[in-house]
Amino acid sequence: MRPPRPPLSRLLAPLLGLALLGGSLAGCATRPPADDPEALEEFRATNDPIEPWNRAMYDVHQAIDTAVLRPVAVAYRAVLPQPVRTGVSNVLSNLRSPVILMNDALQGETGRFGTTLQRFLLNSTVGIGGILDVAKDLGLPPHTEDFGQTFAVAGVEEGPFLFIPILGPSNPRDLAGFAAGIAADPFTWLTYGNRDLADTLNYIRAGTTVVSTRESLLDTLDDVQRTSLDPYATLRSAYRQQRAREIANRAGTPDAPQGLGTGLGSTPSSPQP
C-alpha cells in the first residue's frame, strides 16, 4: 500500500533542497563595508543575502518560463474564452477554501471566517462545484489567506528572500506556509476509495493551478519584462510589498483566493465592473 503522494509537495522537496543548497554553496552577496551606513541599510532593507544564487535560480525559472510556462499560458488564453477560464479559476479558488478557512480561524478573523465558510457552502452547491462565484454577487467577496500569512501574524520573520524556479519569489516563512497549506488541505488526502484516481486528480489540480495562475499573470509579467531595467529586482520588491499588504488584511482591498500562497500570483482580483 502506497502512501498518498501529493504532487505539489513532491515538487516542493527538490526545490527546497535546491534553495537550501544554494544558501550553502553559492555564498552570499557582498555585504557592504561597515563605514557605509546607507549602503548597509539598503542591504538590510533589500533582505537578499544570497542574491547571486537567487539570480541564478531566477535565470533557471525564466528559461523554464520562456520554454514552457508562458507558451502554455498563452495557448490556454487563446483556446478557452474568458467565461470558461473564470470558471476554472473559480473552481480552484473554491478548492482552496478549507485552507483559507483554517487560516482565518488561526488568525482569529471571525468575520472573514464566516465569509469563507458561507462562500464555500454557497459556491459548492448553488455555484455548481465552485464554477460560479455566486457568493460574490451576494456580497461575500473573496479573499486570500495562507499559512505564510498566519505565521507572519504570529510574529514569524520572513527570513531571507528566495527565488524558487516555477514557484517564483518567496522566503523561508512563506515556503513553509506553502508546504503546510498542502499538508493541511483535505483535498490532498481524500482518496475517494481509489488512490490512483486521487493521485490523478491532485496532478490535474496542481497543473491547472500553475497554468491558470500563469495566465492571470501574463500581462503583468510581460509588462515587467518590457519596462523594467532589472526584472528580478522589480519582482523581488513587488512580492514583498504584496505580501505585506496581504498580511495586513487591510479593509477595502479585496484580493483573490487563488494563487500558490508563495506570491506566484493571485488571479485578477478586486472589483469587477
Binding site: 507572519a152 501574524v153 523594467s228 531595467l229 528580478y232 522589480t234 504584496q242 477595502g252 482591498t253 484580493d255
Partner: protein, 209 residues
Amino acid sequence: MPDVTLARRLFLAALPALMAGPALAQAVDTGRATTFIQATGRELVAAINGGGSVAQRRQQVAAILRRAVDVDGVGRFILGRYWRQASPDEQAEYMRLFEETLIRNLSARFGEYQGVRFSLGRTQQRAEDDTLVNTIVERPNTAAFSLDWRVGEVGGQPRVVDVIAEGTSLRLTTRSEYSAVISRNGGRVSALLDAMRNQVSQLAAREGR
C-alpha cells in the same frame, strides 16, 4: 476588536518602508485630493482617448503629467542615496530621462488604453501626511483593477507622489529596480543613465517615434 488592532499593528510594522516619502510634501486635505485626482484622471482619459496623432496625444499627456505629478520629488525619492552621489550633470540628465521614461511608458500603450474609464473607489484614506485616493480602472475586455493615487501637497498644490497598483507602489518598486542597476554596475550612476537612455530609445522605436 482584537483582530483589527492586530491588523493595524501589522500594517504599521510595514509602514517604515513607505514612510521615507519626500519630506517636502505637506498634509493635504482628503476632499481636495479626491477632487484633484478626479479632475486629473478625467483629463488623462480624455487625452488618451482623444483624436489626433500619437505624438499629439503624447504631448497632451506629458503636459498633464508635468502639472499633476511631483516629478522632481518622485525622481529624487527613487534615486535615493545615489542622488547625492550623482554629479549635477548626472542629476539633470537623470531627471530628463526619468520624465521621458514616465511619459514614454504611458504613451507606448495608448492603444491598450483605448476606451479606458475610471471611477472613484470606496476608500479614501490618510497615509501620514499624504492622502490615498482609490480609483477603479476599467478597460474593455479586461478585468477591472484598483489603483491608489498617493497625493501630497507640494508648494501649496496637491501633487501625485506615488501610484499603487494592487498594493504595489510604483516608486518603491522603481527605486529597487534603479538601485539594483547601479549597485550591480559598481555603484556608478552613469550605468543607470545608460540603461535609461537605451530604454527610452527602445520605447520610441516601438512607438514609431
